[in-house]
Amino acid sequence: MERRPKVLIVEDEAITALSIRFELERTGHEVCAFVSTGEEAAEAFDRAAPDLVLMDIGLGGPMDGIAAASRIRERSDVPLIFISGYDDEPMRARANAFLPLEFFTKPLDFELLVETIDRAMEVRTPPS
């Protein structure tokens, strides 16, 4: 049986996180965890070992999504997708330092998001 790709969602806006979760699960993905702070993200990453991390940049708490991504990058080169309501060059430059798979701005285009995740998973786990 084919293993469903596991996605970690880091998003402080509950409704948004929930809609992403439903959309991913509807399209055959497993949301292994969804957390709302940067600190929780690193913890959840160690615990759930996701195949991909969906990271919001503007998080509540002292650590934003980019800082949380740096923590995860210290541990792994797991594919990373940033989502953000901010969209300016300095922000993108900061985020690009951690080699994300993509940078999506809100409101999200779910179809495009799912398509991007699926493509990344195919590249990462080629059929045996």
Binding site: E13, I15, T16, L18, S19, I20, F22, E23, R26, G58, G85, Y86, D87, D88, T105, K106, P107, L108, D109, F110, E111, L112
Partner: protein, 536 residues
């Protein structure tokens, strides 16, 4: 030397000296001529004396029975007369009046006298010979008188000419003196005028320098102060006169002095003005000056000092800084507002997605998808604002191009075969214009995909945008679907899309709206955005 000659005073002095020399020379000539005339007078006197002696000597020798002593005395008188005549003749020859005619007359008299005396002494004869001598004597005397008269007349004539020359020379000298005096006077008046003008100019300059609110100063190439106005002295809390000849280090902090000296060096090196900002930290704190420094050239064209004018712009700089901070704060707030707006839109969009995922009714799902598309149309404006670096306006063509792509992708399904034809003129629009335009295009695209190109029908959506000659924005949309055979839906119909488009176009944007459904569907909108621009 040439410069000295050009000097009016030198010329005046030279003219005076020349005039005086000319007068002196003329005076000397006149004196010499007078002396010559006096000499001629002496000649005539001698001649007269000789004539008297001649007469007396002749009469003494002529008298019959005269004693031998009388005769000797007469001869002595005649010799005396001869000698006197000879001396007069020589004196005449040496005098300034030397008429050849008169000289020959003298020679003739001298010869006759010599002959007469020779014959008288040799022969000692008397009687007839005396008579001959007497006749000869009278002839000689007459000649002497004529000569005397001629000489007198000649001398008088000469003196008249000489006096005329002398008078003319005096007049000339007087004119020269008067002219020179007038020239000196005019020169003195001109000099006085120039001096007064110079004083006025200096006073004006001093008044400007002392009353300007700017700092005015100059330092020579050795760094010594050669000029400092009262503002400089007051600011430095020293006396302006005290500053002259001193270096900045005596009243400035080391670092400040060094910076200012380096700026002076830049002027000296480049030999051209510079405009810079300079700091001075003295007394009540740091002050900022807008300074223009420039080289001061001497008569030889070399830089001898650096002049400077500094205006205190501390308050202006402070205001600018406050303004910059306020603008930065406004920018941050606007960005944050945009971010929050997009986040909120995301929340709404997420709600709609959640609702949609819970519904099995295709109509509900379609309605929710349309609502989501509208939200995305508005959110795209905020993204464009965010990305463009200008938080008040966006490139409307760029926005509509991307929006059309997003909408076709959002509404379309796998068998959708719709192409787009875009003719979009680049123009900027404020958010209050861009959002309604986006909503209109969103409704129109939704309408076309739902009605014109359903069931896999192939077709084209065309969109044009331009600014017309009346400075209005013109938006035209069309599809080449079947149009609306039964006409546009009325106010009471279930569809609200086109009613919304009409309301946005006419009521919100204040434009003219046109729908056509004969061949396919087309929509036109023209409106002025001037009022919207003015509100920003």
């Amino acid at each position: 030397m040439r410069d000295e000659i050009r000097n009016p005073r030198t010329l005046a002095y030279a003219a005076i000296v020349l005039s005086a020399a000319a007068m002196l020379a003329m005076s000397n000539i006149h004196s010499a001529q007078r002396r010559a005339i006096a000499s001629d007078d002496a000649v005539l006197s001698s001649l007269r004396l000789a004539r008297i002696d001649l007469n007396r000597g002749f009469l003494r020798t002529q008298s019959s029975g005269a004693a031998s002593s009388d005769r000797d005395e007469g001869l002595a008188m005649l010799r005396q007369a001869e000698q006197t005549l000879a001396e007069a003749s020589r004196a005449y020859a040496d005098s300034g009046v030397r008429s050849p005619e008169n000289l020959s007359s003298f020679a003739e008299i001298d010869g006759a006298f010599a002959s007469f005396m020779s014959r008288l002494e040799t022969d000692g004869a008397e009687g007839e010979r005396y008579a001959e001598l007497r006749i000869s004597f009278y002839a000689i005397e007459r000649k002497a008188e004529l000569l005397d008269s001629a000489i007198q007349e000649e001398l008088r004539e000469f003196l008249r000419g000489l006096d005329a020359q002398y008078v003319a020379a005096l007049w000339l000298a007087s004119f020269i003196l008067i002219g020179v005096t007038a020239a000196i006077h005019a020169s003195a008046r001109a000099k006085a005028r120039i001096s007064a003008s110079l004083r006025e100019s200096q006073e004006l300059m001093r008044s400007i320098i002392e009353n300007t609110p700017s700092f005015v100063y100059a330092f020579d190439t050795e760094g010594r102060c050669v000029l400092a106005n009262r503002r400089v002295a007051d600011f430095m809390r020293v006396d302006a006169e005290w500053m002259i000849g001193r270096r900045r280090a005596e009243w400035m902090a080391e670092e400040t002095e060094k910076a200012h000296r380096l700026n002076d060096g830049q002027v000296l090196e480049g030999n051209e003005p510079i405009t810079i900002e300079e700091d001075i930290t003295e007394g009540d704190g740091r002050r900022v000056f807008l300074t223009t420094k420039f080289p001061l050239l001497g008569p030889d064209g070399r830089v001898w000092a650096v002049g400077g004018i500094s205006t205190d712009i501390t308050e202006r700089k402070r205001s600018e800084q406050e303004l910059r901070e306020a603008l930065a704060e406004r920018e941050v707030l606007l960005r944050e507002l945009n971010h929050r707006t997009k986040n909120n839109m995301q929340v709404i969009s997420s709600w709609l997605a959640l609702q949609s995922s819970r519904s099995d009714d295709p109509a509900v799902v379609a309605v929710l998808r349309e609502a989501d598309a509208r939200i995305k149309a508005m959110a795209l404006v905020h993204r464009k604002l965010y990305q463009g670096g200008n938080l008040s306006s966006i490139d409307l063509a760029d926005y509509l191009r991307e929006l059309l792509g997003v909408l076709v992708a959002a509404y379309g399904d796998e068998d959708l075969r719709v192409s787009t034809a875009l003719d979009l003129q680049e123009l900027r629009a404020v958010i209050d214009v861009a959002v309604p335009c986006g909503l209109i295009v969103s409704e129109l695209v939704s309408n076309s995909l739902k009605h014109a190109f359903k069931d896999g029908r192939e077709g084209t959506i065309a969109l044009t945008l331009k600014r017309n000659a009346a400075d209005e924005i013109e938006l035209a949309y069309s599809d080449d679907g079947p149009g609306c055979p039964g006409g546009l839906p009325g106010p009471g119909s279930k569809g609200i899309g086109l009613a919304t488009v009409k309301a946005i176009g006419e009521n919100q944007l204040g434009g003219r709206v046109r729908f056509e459904t004969d061949r396919g569907f087309s929509f036109g909108l023209a409106f002025s955005d001037a009022g919207f621009r003015a509100r920003v």
